[in-house]
Amino acid sequence: MPEISIISLAVNGLWNVLSPYGLLLCTFGISLGIVVGALPGLSSTMACALLVPMTFSMQPSTGLILLGAIWCGAIYGGSNAAILLNIPGTPSSIATAFDGYPMTRKGQSERALFIGLVSSVVGGIVGVLVLLSAFAPLAALSVKFGKPEFFWLCIFGLSTIAALSPGNAIKGLLGASIGLLLGTIGLDPIIGIPRFTFGTEMLIEGIQLVPGLIGIFAFAQVLELTEQKSVVIAEYKTTPNLIRNVFGELFSTCKANLLRSSIIGTFIGMLPGAGGPVASLVAYGEAKRWDKDPKRFGSGVSDGIVASESANNAVIGASLVPMMGLGIPGCPTAAVVMSGLLVHGILPGSKMLLESGDIAYTFIMSLLLVNILMLFIGYGMLRLSANLLRVPTRLLIPMVLIMAVIGSYTLRSSMVDVYVMLGCGILSFFLGRAGVGAGPLSLGLVLGPLTEDAFNISLTFMQAKNSFLEVFITRPLCIFFILLTITSLCLPVLLDRRKRKKLLLNRKRKVL
């Protein structure tokens, strides 16, 4: 397609979004998305799925504007609960809680929320710009990413465990392996044999990700709050010069992290099946690995929130690359959006640009505008969310418990998911007391089914080709990820040694 035509399509798309009706839909969608995202158990996928029927009566482009606004709002909204209550509203915000909640405990809730908002906006814009500029060539590249490559990506994701378990990497590995094993409970994905169900029918469908994560974070947090015996979670303090402070910090000291995490989110978002949770955890791990003082992560540092939030919002635009370019949705929410397109008779894929270019570019431009608008709407709702800290814990604890129950139940209208939530919560609480953190456990649960699927299919390839090396090792992208994993595992050790050597040399010089 000629370049000039893409520019004119983009300008027309922007013009469509800037209509009063388009702006109203964006505002409504963002606000609703933030509220939905903040509630544990209600994911962006569910919010979009619920609103797809509402878009049937709308023009295709306006329906897509609404879905895009809800999606962006929900992913950002998930950070609010993660920061204020240590309960990720959506699985994409798991890593946000690692530093967001400690900031809240230090009385910096407002600052943490605003850092999350600005990072979400920047990450979102980067993802959309990539989608806008290069979705056709990138879509073709994303299909070259086979199961062996995906397997190594998952292993690279697991290499972040060391970053998630400061001081005790073996306990982190134990937590991740327990999480991975929990993910294997239920029917085997290849031949359908029940595994680890111990004769109970309840477990045949396995441990669903959302109830498992609600248990690991929300129910375990209920018990942690009980242990703390404090009247409120933390004192609510307003931050003076909030906007100037946060912008100053993000665009001076955190700019490299912001850019790197947005790129990681964009790259992972393009790969079908990975999604926001993997992107945010990998970005967090990398932010910690490349930091001059990695030990400060987990104690409430801005960089932790920046990494997680910019990566998970960058996923949105990037996951539309394979959907719009090839008709392959990059994540569950993209699949829901794709169903909305199909209902209107629009076939996503290589011909979409030629046949429905106006709708495609209106959608892309709406995502860009939504991210900008989210800065203002999110800021307006920031103090409202932060007021949650004023609720006494004696009321907050049962309320979170009820939200955890309803959030788990809503997924499949099944009490089994509620029992799973309870079991995972108790397990996570006791493992947490033994020094096995919720981060590695959740990482294992998220990556478990993805890793197993990629591993099994790669094994089948290996049997067909009768060569382990050809399938697992010598493919160019496999080599890239193997090297990346080795580097990411060895780099912290080497840097630490170098630091120690320097310290020793300095001491010797002082003595001399």
């Binding site: 134990l174 327990i178 094993l181 294997t184 290849i190 814990t393 809503t410 009490m415 033994a434």
Partner: protein, 153 residues
């Protein structure tokens, strides 16, 4: 004994039991179902053994004890776990909204017995009513989730 040894011992023994059980179960499975679980469960056993070995090695290292050294939770936390189990079992019997209402009143009174006086009690009842009203608006009215019903609502 170094207090963190207790934590390590708990993590190691739990990991060994959990990993060992699933390793045994994995061996019984047929290929390809067992490939991935076998790999992960054997890794779990190895990590648990390493934790146990390290805990034995560092048991004589002197460390200043801190508040968070214990494995067992406080009595209050155990009450909350029991309340949560009873609440979840009551949902099927009484219905979601009524059991949730009782849950808020009961749990808040366990957490803060001082609030059992009339005024705070009314405040708790009112707060739980408002909260459940919002839950109803979002889940029953808007999303139309099938909420479990019992004798009541």
């Amino acid at each position: 004994m170094n207090p963190s040894v207790n934590k390590d011992l708990f993590a190691g023994i739990f990991g060994l039991a959990f990993g060992g059980l699933l390793l045994y179960e994995s061996i019984q499975l047929s290929y390809p179902s067992k490939a991935f679980p076998l790999l992960i469960s054997s890794s779990t056993v190895v990590f648990s053994l390493l934790i146990l070995i390290f805990s034995v090695l560092k048991r004589n290292v002197k460390v200043v004890p801190s508040e968070n050294d214990g494995i067992l939770p406080s009595r209050l936390t155990i009450y909350i776990i029991i309340s949560a189990i009873i609440y979840i079992l009551l949902i099927d019997l009484l219905g979601f909204y009524s059991s949730s209402f009782f849950c808020i009143i009961f749990v808040s009174s366990i957490l803060s017995p001082n609030h059992l006086k009339i005024k705070p009690f009314i405040f708790t009842c009112l707060s739980s009513f408002i909260f459940l009203f919002f839950v109803y608006i979002i889940f029953s009215f808007w999303i139309k989730t099938s909420i479990p019903d019992g004798i009541l609502i």
